[in-house]
């Protein structure tokens, strides 16, 4: 720790943090755009300018680290003037398409422009004729909005994907998708939540959903575990706020007939996946087994590492399992024609859109999930429909698929699937009530967590991985050390998904995850197998191996470049 001073305020500062972060912690606001704590400081936008006593010139706070006795000034005539010019220059490249933008009312560029009374349309936008790209029909990249911070390129590289590159286009270096046939997008959407200027966005199906509702279709919504602790952020609630009943009421107001919790699907997945794991452990076959509920991870395997396809669990993901049950079991119960049911998933994720459209997941010729909205897209749908989650009266989930177990809910955080599966495996193998339910060794946001769980005679060596680059490390160097590997593509797991509200960073992901574990702690039922809803589904519907296979199992295939 060192003693420094920022704008006259004496601060004891951590040498490992930069001045921008230290100032923020001390409620000193240094304007900044391109800095994101998940990537190294790109020092591109040149807004976070500071002066340092005894040194000539201006510096960027994002790249300066404190030294004993350092005296920092964050505002002067020269700083203000040059900040303004740089912001104006960025506006002069960036096309404003504000109402469709993920940053909408949170846009720092626009807020600074207002605060500094800038005339932002002095110049003709340099990028006005820049191209738009679409990746897999789920992510759009509008390069006319890009302000060249290259955080997207960095995060894509950090994911072990490297699909986004900087290439010279005419006289400028711009971000473009790779032409390399060995590189492809896995649709994780980290570019969407790390883009400074809203150039990346998910492909929003909300107008199609509105039409389905209007046309009188039986529209059912199902929401993913991690949605409930993040959607509040788009309504200015505290990070990690738990919003369930109000969100359900909002969805009903939009016109959904039923609202279910995907965590029910997660409970089913947990049971089947634990079965498969136990079977593989007995046979010592296709180990380690990898989770497959993250479609970006699945695409990563199918494209980059197809030799590991057999290691993926063949259990479908929670949204697909529950979607399938809605269009079969639920349809039968409610006497509905499955063709009239429209299933809409609300996911923290962009790759779930891609998954929903996979042909091999169809049941009786129908998609199990018809549309996938991201957390942010649902929030935007609410806003467009004048639904404010702060004020709306809450409603309960619909009966048939009432409450999930706590295990189903923690699916939303890195380590949640492994913990849920371990609870179930213990339950099955030990055949008695568990003494230990919390497996804290799987929790937390480190890239790779390792634990060994002894259940009776069986020892299961488990790795929990978040971030694809970490997964690549396991594949390349540590494969034989594990029996079961949970992989979530996004940092922190689904709480950090590419469909979550912005901003998303380490601190925010932590708060979202902590709230999920809090819900789990407070649930009476915390093991999938003990959930009466699930027990009932097995008793009434999943009665034969054939039906279980049809609803819950699938296969994966080697993929060629799609983008």
């Amino acid at each position: 720790m060192v003693n420094i001073e920022i704008d006259g305020k004496k601060i004891i500062a951590d040498e490992n943090k930069n001045i921008l972060e230290i100032a923020k912690e001390n409620n000193i606001d240094i304007p900044s755009l391109c800095y994101h704590s998940d990537v190294y400081p790109k020092e591109a936008c040149r807004l976070c300018l500071i002066e340092i006593s005894g040194r000539s010139g201006l510096f960027t706070a994002c790249s300066i680290y404190p030294e004993e006795g350092m005296v920092v000034i964050t505002s002067s005539d020269e700083i203000l003037r040059t900040r303004k010019t740089n912001l104006k220059l960025m506006f002069a490249q960036h096309i404003e398409k504000c109402n469709q933008c993920i940053w909408n009312n949170k846009c720092k560029m626009l807020n600074y422009a207002r605060q500094w009374k800038l005339h932002i349309n002095e110049w003709e936008d340099r990028k006005k004729n820049y191209p738009k790209y679409s990746f897999g029909g789920v992510i759009n990249y509008d390069s006319s909005k890009c302000i060249n911070c290259s955080n997207c390129v960095e995060i894509c590289k950090n994911q072990g994907v490297g699909f986004l590159e900087i290439k010279k286009q005419g006289s400028f270096h711009e971000v473009v998708p790779s032409q390399d046939k060995n590189k492809d997008c896995v649709y994780c959407g980290q570019c969407v939540v790390h883009c400074t200027a809203g150039s990346f966005s998910s492909v929003d199906p909300s107008s199609k959903i509105k039409e389905e509702i209007k046309s009188g279709k039986y529209v059912v919504f199902q929401f993913a575990p991690s949605i409930r602790t993040s959607i509040g952020e788009d309504f200015d609630m505290d990070q990690g706020s738990i919003v369930i009943e109000k969100m359900i009421a909002g969805i009903k107001k939009i016109g959904a007939k039923k609202v279910f919790d995907v965590s029910i699907g997660a409970d089913l997945v947990t049971i089947e996946e634990a079965n498969e794991l136990i079977e593989r452990l007995h046979k010592k076959d296709k180990l380690p087994m990898f989770t497959s509920c993250c479609p970006a991870w699945v695409k990563f395997i199918e494209f980059y590492k197809p030799e590991f396809i057999p290691n993926l669990t063949t259990v479908k993901s929670p949204q697909i399992v529950l979607g399938g049950i809605i269009k079969t079991y639920f349809a039968e119960k409610e006497k509905l024609d499955p063709k009239d049911i429209v299933v809409v998933s609300v996911m923290p994720c962009t790759s779930k859109k891609y998954e929903a459209d996979r042909q091999e997941l169809k049941i009786d010729g129908l998609n199990c999930v018809d549309y996938v909205l991201t957390t942010h897209e649902l929030a935007r749908m609410f806003i467009k429909n004048n639904i404010d989650l702060n004020t709306i009266e809450g409603e309960e989930k619909d009966d048939l698929f009432g409450n999930a177990s706590g295990a189903g809910i923690i699916f939303g955080s890195s380590g949640g699937v492994a913990e849920a599966a371990t609870r179930t495996a213990c339950y099955k193998l030990l055949n008695k009530k568990l003494e230990k339910i919390d497996f804290k060794e799987f929790r937390g946001h480190e890239g790779i967590k390792k634990a060994s769980v002894k259940i009776g005679e069986i020892e299961i060596r488990i790795a929990v991985v978040n971030g694809l680059l970490n997964a690549k490390k396991i594949l390349e160097d540590h494969l034989n050390e594990f029996d079961y590997v949970e992989v979530m593509s996004c940092p922190g797991g689904c709480v950090g998904g590419g469909g979550q509200p912005v901003p998303t960073d380490k601190e925010i992901r932590k708060k979202r995850a902590e709230s999920l574990y809090q819900i789990d702690r407070n649930e009476k039922i915390r093991i999938a197998d003990e959930n009466p809803v699930i027990q009932n589904i097995y008793k009434e519907f999943l009665i034969s191996k054939e039906i279980v296979n049809k609803i819950a199992y699938t296969n994966f295939f080697k993929k060629e470049k799609e983008n």
């Binding site: 591109a44 040149r46 300018l49 003037r81 040059t82 010019t85 002095e122 060249n148």
Partner: protein, 327 residues
């Protein structure tokens, strides 16, 4: 003999000829003294400045001496390997001859095509490492942490040429100057270091009889100097552009702006967007001086690297000393 080369470089007062003018012996000393298992030497032959061809002239005429200079560095610095980092043109021109002279010395040729910014030493290092060709933050300086994070000595072609001369005891304070202009014969000349603009031009018969001004120190970022400043020495690279008052200053500015807009790395806002807006104004032949001054200030004060910080120099000096003065 190589052991006391540092002392010789210090005595000769040799300063880097890449433009920055940093004392050469200090760079050598820093790399030499670092206690690490591997060190690198880079001979910078990117010569990216607009119109500048003095390193080309040296490679055409004194290639052996350049290699000798690099060899002195290789022998002085233990466990070192060297690279010659050449722009596309020079690579194709000199590749064969260089390989003939290098023989089994530990010198690798690198071909680059990164424009003006390609000549910046940390860009060269990033490029050799296979990274994006953009500058690195200092500190650390490349002499502390350069190529593959090892201490790296980066000197220009001309500097290595004079290292060889100093080592042989044949250096007497010379440097190369390139002179050009529509109205002069021009060429590359070896003259004394520290000569004034007037002396350089008179000595080489490039002094116009009619009134003129010059751009000194670089073909794009060199400063414009008018008659009353001709008794100053050159700061920057050994380059003088002789410009008569009949020439259209806008054409010159357009060349600079196009060159810089195309040759920068596009990493930071003021350099990337500011230069684009300068070019836009210059092309329209309509300068909004107030706006320009804001762009200049942002470039000068907030650009990431020295290239961006230097962009206002030629424009501002041409506008103030020539365009505004002559209506």
């Amino acid at each position: 003999m190589e052991a006391n080369i540092i002392e010789k470089l210090k005595l000769a007062n040799l300063r880097g000829r890449g433009g920055a003018g940093f004392p050469t012996y200090l760079k050598w000393e820093s790399v030499l003294e670092a206690d690490v298992p591997k060190k690198y030497i880079i001979c910078n032959a990117a010569e990216g400045e607009l119109d500048l061809k003095k390193d080309k002239y040296i490679l055409e005429n004194f290639l052996e001496d350049v290699i000798l200079g690099i060899d002195v560095a290789l022998k002085t610095i233990n466990n070192s390997s060297a690279f010659i980092y050449l722009n596309k043109e020079y690579y194709s021109l000199f590749k064969n001859k260089l390989l003939d002279v290098i023989k089994d010395l530990d010198i690798t040729l690198i071909e680059e095509d990164n424009g003006y910014i390609g000549g910046e030493e940390s860009v060269a290092i990033n490029y050799i490492e296979g990274k994006i060709a953009e500058p690195r933050k200092r500190p650390p300086f490349v002499s502390e942490k350069g190529l593959y994070n090892m201490p790296t000595l980066v000197n220009n072609v001309e500097t290595f040429y004079y290292v060889s001369k100093i080592n042989k005891g044949e250096y007497d304070n010379e440097r190369f100057y390139m002179i050009m202009g529509d109205k002069v014969e021009g060429g590359v000349y070896e003259l004394k270091e520290g000569m004034t603009i007037r002396e350089i031009l008179k000595n080489t018969n490039n002094y116009l009889e009619t009134s003129f001004y010059v751009q000194a120190g670089g073909g794009a970022v060199g400063e414009i100097m008018t008659e009353e400043e001709f008794d100053k020495p050159i700061v920057g690279e050994g380059f003088v552009r002789v410009i008569s008052y009949e020439e259209d200053p806008y054409e010159l500015m357009e060349r600079w702006a196009e060159f810089l807009e195309n040759g920068n790395c596009d990493k930071c806002t003021p350099c990337r967007e500011g230069t684009y807006r300068i070019l836009e104004m210059v092309k329209k032949r309509k300068l909004d001086l107030k706006v320009l001054e804001e762009i200049f200030l942002a470039q000068e004060k907030t650009s990431f690297c020295a290239l961006g910080k230097g962009i206002p120099t030629p424009f501002r000096s041409l506008i103030n000393k020539v365009i505004l003065k002559n209506g």
